[in-house]
Symmetry: C2
Subunit: 397 residues, 2 copies
């Protein structure tokens, strides 16, 4: 008997995609499914940046530099300046999506058996990259009651062991939409300084802040050697399929190591680097429209949710996710029931059970994540479905 690896067995399945067959079955029956389950924005990719690819003129689709095209990295320096981050082109490695930046960070900073602390609920794929790197995730819990604020410093201190090498934060957060305040970022700074840890900052949603301003981990002073920015253009420009991200750090040893991982896989995708480079030249007000649209959606979804009996949804400060506590027994069962057994005017809604975002077993059973990646009209229809569903659901608690 030929066996796959333990790692292959331990690798987590996508907690969102397991519901896909039920959604497909619902659609086959003729039911309209409103997808609030996945962070695929419906916002059009700017025509001008798609045109940059369409108008590209070269004879050979060559490997780019392993760190990404120099012209693109220089443009990224401009972009980062605009958001108050001072880096050089040599401190940037263009990656295949934010995913690869996370993988490079985990691989280059941690060995098998090392530990990484992540406030939960967190982006489920961190688990996958941790398994790939043989790293152990130590969650510390943030609660919906506190709006998913950074857990108190004592919780970090309790979780830190001699094996702890890093903390991961996603800011603004997926799945909670929470935007860390400058004070919270300063707390993180103190922790990483005191315990000599890396701080991995996933800032995929940097542009989408609706309350307060964004404090990047790269804005923190005195921890330049500690901070690794894991970035992506996927959400920023509705360019998820391009698979272009960036690994950014001022730590030279780490850069050298990450470059070796980058060289092993030769280069990031060429076409989408052209798109990413063009994106830096989008008009300064580009994000205004997109942000205004997301804010309108957020306001709609949050007010609709909080108006439902027994539902609580803290107001998320950024990204395009909201977490809601529902009067239900089990979010996995509920989300499947919505697709399998429920419809309202021949429509239903697909949500992400929050259990997949918690690492501690048993947490998130009454919570769901809603990605507001549909327009207000469709969000309202989805909320109509949810409102009726919560009344009909047999497992209402």
């Amino acid at each position: 008997m030929l066996n796959i690896s333990k790692r292959g067995n331990e690798m987590p399945s996508s907690p969102i995609r397991k519901l896909v067959p039920f959604a497909e079955a619902a659609k086959k029956k003729g039911t309209t499914v409103y997808h609030l389950n996945i962070g695929q924005p419906d916002i059009a990719t700017p025509e001008t940046i798609l045109d940059a690819v369409r108008n590209s003129d070269f004879k050979v689709l060559e490997y780019s530099h392993s760190a990404g095209n120099e012209s693109y990295r220089k443009k990224l320096v401009e972009y980062y300046q605009q958001v108050g981050i001072q880096v050089t082109a040599e401190q940037i490695i263009v990656t295949t999506g934010g995913s690869e930046a996370i993988l490079f960070g985990f691989m280059a900073c941690m060995d098998a058996g090392d530990e990484v602390i992540i406030p939960e609920p967190f982006y489920a794929n961190y688990n996958g990259f941790a398994v790939e790197a043989g790293v152990i995730v130590k969650p510390i819990t943030s609660s919906i009651e506190s709006g998913f604020a950074l857990p108190p410093i004592e919780d970090f201190e309790k979780a830190i062991t001699p094996k702890t090498k890093a903390i991961v934060i996603c800011n603004p957060n997926n799945p909670t939409g929470y935007l860390y305040s400058q004070e919270e970022m300063e707390v993180l700074k103190q922790i990483i300084l005191k315990h000599n840890l890396f701080l991995f900052a996933d800032e995929a949603y940097r542009e989408f802040c609706y309350e307060g301003t964004h404090t990047s981990a790269m804005h923190l002073t005195g921890v330049e050697e500690h901070v690794v920015l894991m970035d992506t253009i996927s959400k920023r420009y509705s360019a998820c399929g391009g698979r272009i991200g960036a690994f950014v750090t001022k730590n030279q040893d780490l850069l050298n190591a990450a470059m070796k991982f980058a060289q092993a896989r030769l280069s990031p995708p060429s076409f989408a680097q052209i798109l990413g480079e063009a994106a830096v030249d989008l008009p300064a007000n580009y994000f205004d429209t997109t942000k205004a649209e997301y804010k309108k959606r957020r306001d709609t979804i949050v007010s609709r949710l909080n108006a439902m009996e027994g539902v609580f949804c803290p107001n998320p400060g950024g990204a395009f996710y909201a977490m809601a506590k529902l009067p239900i027994d089990d979010s996995d069962t509920f989300c499947q029931w919505l697709l399998e057994s429920f419809s309202h005017n021949n429509q239903t809604v697909m949500l992400a059970p929050a259990t997949g975002f918690y690492s501690t077993p048993g947490l998130g059973k009454q919570e769901v994540r809603l990605a507001y990646v549909l327009n207000v009209e469709r969000i309202n229809k989805a909320m109509d479905c949810l409102e009726v569903a919560l009344k009909e659901y047999p497992g209402r608690s």
Copy 2:
């Protein structure tokens, strides 16, 4: 002191790229450098497949399916049929280059401490993926004197331990250009059956065979559960920058595991999937022209090399690489000297020292790899340089 991981330290640097600064310095001095050092073809990417991307019409650059677009996977089924490989769309996971297919295979089949046997000299980046997966490479040596034929079965048997999980072959081979015969493939089949091993087959250069025919590992019968095809369109269509490859297997457990790795990184790049899909519809004679061109180059480079005093270059059956034994003390020193201290009519040649392709220390010191990715005229000029250089080189042996 904040330390990077042991893995980050152990990760090998690219053996080819370390010479790049010397090549850049030579160019700055005004010397023409003929690049025979890297497998970046100069063959134009077919216009029609670039046009497929340029004419693409969509509003949102979305994530594709984690396994790749279904339409592309169905097209790939057609492509594989054309080369005598019967697979279904469900047995294909589209990857980010062949690189990611290798990584998925190593990760999903082997755990840290497991061993993989690879005939050396081999594609240097296997070392990098082995370090990422914590896997130990056990080389068995093929020799230039035998033209890099598959080492005898006894050498495999000697290298196999209870930790051995797989054998990697690259066919036709990078760096040697060796094309494994059907008999050699049958020998490999017996070994993997007897010892219950996976066979990873890197067939990036499948189309480029100049003597005999290609036997794919997927042509072997009775080992369907053992075989993993690690494929890429990079060389096939001169589309290296697209970063599109494929992980193909009939082993359902392995497919399920590999899909979890695929889901963690969300999706392969969208643009180049469009290009790959269009490529399957290239006219049946597309490869004839490219192959004829490469064959002409091979014939030129091999005859030029063997005409030089003290040089031996076995005739490679496929790919676009040749390995040559030179009358020199040390190939690393020689290749650097070519760039740093030598020129002939203001020209020089960049080669890859073979030491980087051997895992056993000390091997390859008199060998270099030449990638015939330049046209015949330029190859001849490069050979003129090499011929003169071998006479002038102080470390001639």
